[in-house]
């Protein structure tokens, strides 16, 4: 992933001098160089630049060096050596993360797993694929298509993102209401702990002895262990799918329609929603011809032809009863793909509306949709920044996209504050600050809003169980209690930062 503008240079708080850093770099490179094949380490400034950031490109930092292992033994060598020298390690898959999880540390190694990109085994009778962590999500489905199988979780980034990154973020996709998240579709992982120990969690059966450490690794954002192999479950490809697209004059009516579909007892494969801003952006971007309306619902059903045909009629009826002014049902595979193309292009379409956009990821109980949308509207007016909305409506996962221009003084900061307040509104509605993109560095302050100090401490204790030295991706995902105290204090003072010139990070 390239790193477009804008750019904030983040400096480490440790305050290591250039000199100290280059001495460390030299020593580490010498020790690792003895254990790794040539070409595994990148240390020159030019080589490091592509790894400065993930897809949350507002945050950038150059790592001490980048290690690009090809084997588990090489990963072990890197981790053991870093452990010995107390050098922090940040794992990275494809760098498509949206929360800064793979943001490097100046004094740390960026462990890039993208060269571990082999499909190791496809077990058709047991419907499993054993792959290396750098394998791209979509590649798995492509590899097993000949057997009529596929890997269900399909994040919109699936052509690029890695399966290791998917596990680390517990990625979701458009179809997760019916088929689940990454955690529901992974049989086992092999991980290497910071001290270089290699262990398998889970297995090829449907469960494994002991605690569900496999579940714990999902969404752990590279803080517990490095994932070096993933065995995913494969499903038979549904033979048939149809989508219904319904236009609503009011966005709350669209929300009610979503609730009615679910209450009726059908379980759609995908259930998505867009607001007017998003529909306009999409219609201006490609020729999908969505009706001009306040809210659009897309409902996809899949299964056998008999099953889908009978249910799509029922769903169309529910949409009409809920007040849809127009309902279109796909009559061919071509039409289905065309109707989806607008939703799939939502991000790039919105990307044309403003120089920059900032993607939020709050999840709420669906019944509070209208309320939270109104709050977002009020916040958007207050901060004088437009927000367009696209949701995984079936599971209440909202992606408000905040439009801004980083070249305009103060807009990025306003966008971040607006984003933070949207997330706090999600928590207040009984939801969460992140449904699928992870906390990373981006939402670390909002963790203080969602969790109490004792809960955060429990997270720290659990991290220490895996990584007692705290060297894996430190500073991400779970805030220190001190940080929360500081953030809380900021809140008391009316949301104004006490030291505006200090880098807030």
């Amino acid at each position: 992933m390239s790193c477009p503008l804008p750019e904030i240079r983040v400096t480490s708080t440790v305050g290591k001098t250039e000199e100290e850093l280059s001495r460390r770099r030299a020593e580490l490179a010498a020790r690792l160089g003895k254990q790794l094949p040539a070409g595994t380490l990148l240390t020159h400034e030019d080589e490091l630049r592509p790894f400065e950031c993930d897809a949350l490109s507002a945050y950038r930092r150059q790592p001490l060096m980048v290690a690009m292992p090809r084997t588990v033994a090489e990963v072990q060598a890197v981790l053991r050596t870093c452990h010995d020298m107390a050098v922090p390690v940040v794992a990275r898959g494809a760098g498509t993360g949206l929360s800064g999880g793979a943001l490097p540390l100046e004094q740390g190694v960026l462990l890039n797993l993208s060269r571990m990109d082999q499909v190791l085994e496809v077990d058709v009778p047991n419907r499993l694929a054993r792959v290396q962590p750098g394998v791209r999500n979509l590649h798995i489905s492509e590899r097993v298509a000949q057997h009529g199988l596929y890997y269900a979780p399909d994040p919109s980034s699936q052509i690029a993102c890695s399966i290791g990154g998917n596990v680390a973020e517990n990625a979701g996709g458009v179809h997760c209401l019916k088929y689940g998240l990454t955690v529901h579709n992974v049989a086992s992982v092999e991980v290497v702990t910071i001290d270089g120990q290699h262990v398998r969690l889970g297995g090829p059966a449907l469960d494994a002895p002991g605690y569900d450490l496999l579940a714990l690794i999902h969404g752990s954002e590279g803080l517990l262990a490095v994932i070096v192999e993933v065995t995913v479950r494969l499903l038979p490809k549904p033979v048939y799918a149809q989508v219904a697209v319904a236009a609503f004059a009011r966005v709350d009516a669209a929300g009610d329609a979503v609730a009615s579909i679910i209450a009726s007892g059908v379980l759609p494969a995908g259930l998505e929603m867009m607001d007017r801003g998003c529909i306009e952006a999409v219609n201006g971007f490609l020729d999908v011809g969505y009706p001009d309306c306040a809210g659009l619902v897309l409902c996809e059903l899949d299964g056998t032809q008999a099953e889908v045909s009978s249910q799509i009629e029922a769903v169309s009826g529910i949409l009409r009863d809920a007040g849809a002014v127009e309902v279109t049902v796909s009559r061919s595979e071509e039409e289905r793909l065309r109707l989806w193309s607008g939703r799939k292009a939502a991000f790039p379409a919105v990307g044309r509306l403003a120089p920059d956009y900032y993607c939020m990821d709050g999840t709420i109980p669906r019944r509070h949709l209208a309320r939270v949308l109104n709050e977002i509207k009020a916040l958007s007016e207050h901060y004088r920044l437009s927000v367009v909305n696209v949701f995984h409506a079936g599971d209440g996962n909202m992606h408000p996209l905040i439009l801004y221009d980083a070249n305009r003084e103060g807009e990025l900061q306003r966008a971040e504050k607006l984003g933070g307040e949207i997330l706090e509104a999600c928590v207040a509605a009984g939801g969460t600050i992140t449904g699928e993109h992870g906390v990373g560095i981006e939402k670390i302050d909002q963790m203080c809003v969602q969790f109490s100090p004792t809960e955060l401490q429990q997270f720290h204790d659990l991290k220490a169980a895996f990584d007692p030295s705290g060297l894996l991706n430190p500073g991400k995902a779970v805030p220190t209690l001190a940080r929360c105290a500081e953030f809380g204090a900021m809140h008391v003072h009316g949301g104004r930062l006490p030291f505006p010139d200090l880098e807030r990070f």
Binding site: P125, R127, P209, L213, T363, I364, P365, R366, V439, Q450
Partner: protein, 365 residues
Amino acid sequence: MTAGNSVSIPPDADLTEALQNAIHAALADQRPLEILGSGSKRFLGRESSGQRLDIGGHRGIVTYEPSELVMTARSGTPLAEIESLLGRHGQMLAFEPPHFGPGATLGGTVACNLAGPRRPYAGATRDFVLGTRVINGKGEILRFGGEVMKNVAGYDISRLMAGAMGTLGLLLEVSLKVLPAPRVEATLAFERDEPQALVDMNRCAGRPLPVSAAAWCAGVMYVRLSGSETGVAAACAELGGDEMLPDTALAFWDALKEQRLAAFSGEGVLWRLSLPPATGSLPLDAESVIDWGGAQRWLRTDEDAERVRWVAGEAGGHAVAFKDGDRQGSVFHPMGGVLMQLHRRVKDALDPHGLFNPGRMYAGL
């Protein structure tokens, strides 16, 4: 909740405070606890020391929003009460949990992570856990996850609680994802020997059919289909076999889930082998009952525990001495050194004084 019944049913009650006090008292006296719902699964696992702490009184459904597909209940709530409420709204616990007794509670069900015939096609208990409120081993009340389908804020401690046999904390409340119950179900029966049944069940699972259960017992393979009327009818036509009468089919799946089929009783230890589903017939001297499309095998045998575990391990799976085994020794499959070390540290992180169900899963945990 259920009325018109002469047995008096305890009212809903929130005993959080009392339970927290009991834990603080136990901490002060350094006295371990055995957490107990109704005791329906007390036979499972190693014998635990510890003073009984009954959570059965901590009961009641806290929230249920059918259109959100989410239900939250206190851990002592009877499973039967939850299932009947969901049933009235056309919904279900898709993991089809076994009860093993009339009083089975939600807490015990989640702690044991047991699931019924629908498991391979719908998911296990752990797959449906969205959030929990727990008391950890320091007596702190903590909330993890929530009532939303997707949530990656913080480590997934809720799911970790599923299957931990109560050794990591006391569950106060659990939020579960629920699913619409299928409109129609049909069960097809086929005469098959075991090897052929295993091949057929896995072939079936690899095809886009609305299969919701597949089992084999005493020469007959059973395949259940669930969905819309037309969908199920089309799948039945495609698969052939003899369609069972609805009541007979219902009784069969229930007897399989609750272990009332004849093959579950008898001499020896009742072993549960959890295996990659396509594993062939096992080289053991007892006939299996096969559930989960091949992934779960039950058998009664006197064979040496080491040998049963070796067979399961060779196939890539694991074995549990589910019932009537030596409850002082190993019940669950032994784990390797690094994995066991991680387990100890995770236990220490959540229950540093070893308060909850000591030894129930593994000695020393």
